[in-house]
Amino acid sequence: MSPENVNCLPESDVKLTLGLPGGGPISAKPAKPPAAKAQVVGWPPVRSFRKNAMKSCKYVKVAVDGAPYLRKVDLEIYSSYQELLNALEEMFSCLTIWNYLNERKIMDNVNGMEYVPTYEDKDGDWMLVGDVPWKMFVESCKRLRLMKSSEAIGLAPRTPSKNSSTS
């Protein structure tokens, strides 16, 4: 699937999906992730001091559509979008991230699915990653979601890229 196709995706019903990831087929691991458990007192056995110490870390969840597990990143340790995307590439090693025409696209090497990095901002809106200056993004980002390209149509419209050629 070449990058050019992205700009020529057929007009389909605009679908703004705000649901949690996991709509797609579950990945290869046989067991399903356990259902969200009710909080049991004193379990897992982690000391209060440690519990409280970890709470103060500011980091955001990263979800990939179709993957059963989330990860977390501390946005404050990166200083640019490129660094963040490199880290995501390392974390989700089946994905390759590349820039094309200043639009960041992410592709899963195994199943050929294309993903678009999106984030939920302070107002609860889902935006495309990369539109605002980095520091502003760090301030306002509450969680990240690598959304399947097909579902990303209709997200907050992006400002036209300076480097876009024709089209």
Binding site: P34, Q39, G42, P44, V46, S48, F49, K61, R71, M91
Partner: protein
């Protein structure tokens, strides 16, 4: 002279009973430090018992209610150092009611009378008030070492009293306590004339301390070997401290994130470069990959690295571990994932201890963390591994079998599969065979924590094979009380048994009647034990204290939480209303 004649009066010795005069025997026994050895010595004969008790200077009391201060002082007249542990371990996880007890004050009053030359006090899970700290500071002129781990009840005011009055203090170690952190001014209370400090650990306290006071303190304490600062200390400040104390052997950094200029970065790197003696490193709060390289020059001799408060990714951990070939102990967060653990296996062949803590244990959604693969990778690379604490969300029987095959010398195996009752995720079978493999292969096993879906078979294995097991922790496991009976019947060296949320009832509880006198303690909560069962136990075993903690609104006949321990001090008199002594 008076002491000698007093001794002779107390122990009339016949000529044949000992080859050595008492004084010589005492001198020889003074070299014995292990309290287990000393216990053995004291059992040989009356003369040896007396020589031992006169020569003992350090006493370790694993359960503060097993003995009273009066009994202690009667037996050991010359104590200089006391280690005391109080509350049951599950109090760390909020399972023990407030005001449960374990207050140090009565001990201090007795010590002021009997051991005015007391030098060291190490407390774990005790309640310590400011008043007690002030009392300590005022009554013990020779006081040198104060270590408080997981204690509660005091504030920084109490610490101020210690800093102000303890002129001979060499060690102040405050770890993970419920401290009311009113202000950091306690640190400024060390007088300018005070220079004896060797160990200072205030890493787990939050209030900002006066940096100038800290810097001056570090400068004038030339014997300072251990310095662990709190989050309020910045990288720039750390650099200054390191310059003052290049002789440090253990360092706990403060917050490891700050925007540094190139010059500051170089200075920091240089400071670490001058610290050639550091073998323990911790702190590293909010450390970003960007600044970890400044540590590299100091890592050559590192044996213990505590990254358990640093949300590090696997790749960054790998880059750091390349520089730590001598590492023996490593604590990390599961943010490093299996990739990070593969690096551990690759770069740390001398590793003996690994602890992997969960960054997000209570999150509703599922966060990745480490899996069985990471643990297996470590076991292939680190054949000397003997201590592990591993929090994960999935495990298999096969993986554990491989792990113990690679590392048969485990002494401490603490595996926590975080979802209660979760089976082997590949086969959907219980995790019985995993722990079976552990106890069969690891003959030196002293401590075991089990988790996952477990049937009685696990406990049959434990009872049959774990002959050196001393501590066992069980949660959400077993089919019937038979499991507990197997353990009580089979593990000759068992000292501590803690059980929660298991279907073990009165029959299981009572099967251990004689056993409990050879153990330090038993904890059972949310099991099927009744008040009647507990009363029976209390009646039959007068040298045990059987305490029940009732929960609000529970059935009158149920014994929600039971704590049983042996004691020579009789039932305790300081129990709160929620704790019933039967």
């Amino acid at each position: 002279m008076i002491m000698e004649s007093k001794r002779k009066k107390e122990s009339p010795s016949s000529p044949e009973s000992t080859q050595f005069p008492d004084e010589v025997l005492e001198r020889v026994l003074a070299f014995l430090t292990s309290h287990k050895d000393r216990s053995s010595v004291s059992l040989v004969c009356k003369d040896w018992y007396n020589a031992e008790r006169w020569s003992r200077t350090h006493v370790f009391i694993g359960n503060c209610y097993s003995v009273s201060p009066e009994i202690l002082a009667r037996r050991f007249p010359n104590i200089r150092s006391v280690t005391l542990k109080g509350k049951p371990r599950f109090s760390d996880f909020n399972l023990v009611p407030q005001n449960w007890g374990a207050d140090i004050h009565a001990w201090l009053v007795a010590f002021a009378d009997k051991y005015p030359f007391l030098e060291e006090l190490r407390l774990k899970r005790m309640t310590v008030s400011d008043e007690s700290l002030e009392y300590l500071a005022a009554n013990f002129q020779n006081f040198k070492v104060l270590s408080l781990l997981s204690c509660d009840g005091f504030s920084t005011d109490g610490l101020a009293a210690i800093a102000t009055h303890c002129k001979n203090l060499t060690e102040l170690d405050i770890q993970e306590n419920g401290v009311e952190d009113r202000s950091g001014s306690w640190l400024s209370c060390f007088p300018e004339s005070f220079t004896s400090l060797e160990v200072l650990n205030f890493a787990s306290m939050s209030a900002e301390v006066n940096f100038d006071a800290l810097e001056r303190l570090v400068s004038r304490c030339k014997s300072l070997k251990v310095l662990k600062v709190n989050k309020s200390i910045s990288l720039e400040q750390l650099q200054k401290l390191l310059t003052r104390a290049p002789q440090l052997v253990e360092l706990g950094t403060g917050s490891f994130s700050q925007e540094l200029t190139t010059r500051q970065y170089a200075e920091l790197e240089s400071a670490f470069n001058n610290c050639k003696n550091i073998h323990t490193l911790s702190g590293l709060w909010e450390a970003t990959a960007l600044y970890l390289p400044v540590l590299y020059p100091a890592c050559a001799n590192l044996t213990f690295l505590n990254l358990s408060y640093t949300a590090l990714q696997g790749g960054d951990l790998a880059k750091l571990l390349v520089h730590c070939p001598r590492l023996q102990r490593l604590w990390v967060l599961d943010t490093v994932e299996d990739k990070g653990l593969e690096a551990v296996g690759s770069y740390c062949p001398l590793l003996e201890e690994l602890r992997v803590f969960p960054a997000d244990p209570f999150d509703e959604e599922i966060i990745h963390g480490v899996t069985e693969e990471g643990f297996v990778a470590v076991s292939f690379g680190c054949r000397r591994l003997h201590y592990v604490l591993y929090f994960c969300r999935q495990m298999t029987n096969a993986a554990v079998a491989t792990i113990v095959q690679n590392c048969p010398d485990f002494t401490h195996f603490r595996l926590c599969i975080m979802n209660p009752g979760q089976p082997d995720y590949l086969t959907n079978e219980p995790m019985d065979e995993a722990f079976g493999a552990v106890v069969k292969t690891c003959t030196k096993l002293q401590r075991l924590s089990v988790s996952g879906l477990l049937t009685d078979l696990t406990f049959e294995y434990i009872g049959k094979y774990a002959k050196n097991l001393e501590t066992l922790s069980v949660a959400f496991a077993g089919n019937s009380g038979r499991g507990m009976e197997c353990v009580l019947g089979g593990c000759p060296k068992l000292r501590k048994l803690e059980i929660r949320d298991c279907p073990f009832g009165d029959e299981a509880l009572l099967s251990g009647l004689e056993k409990y006198e050879s153990m330090r303690s038993l904890w059972m909560s949310a099991c099927n034990v009744t008040m009647n069962g507990c009363r029976q136990l209390a009646r039959k075993m007068p040298r045990l204290n059987v305490e029940v903690m009732k929960e609000d609104g529970s059935d009158d006949s149920q014994a929600d939480k039971v704590y049983v321990y042996r004691t020579v001090a009789g039932p305790r008199r300081d129990a709160p209303p929620s704790v019933l002594t039967l």
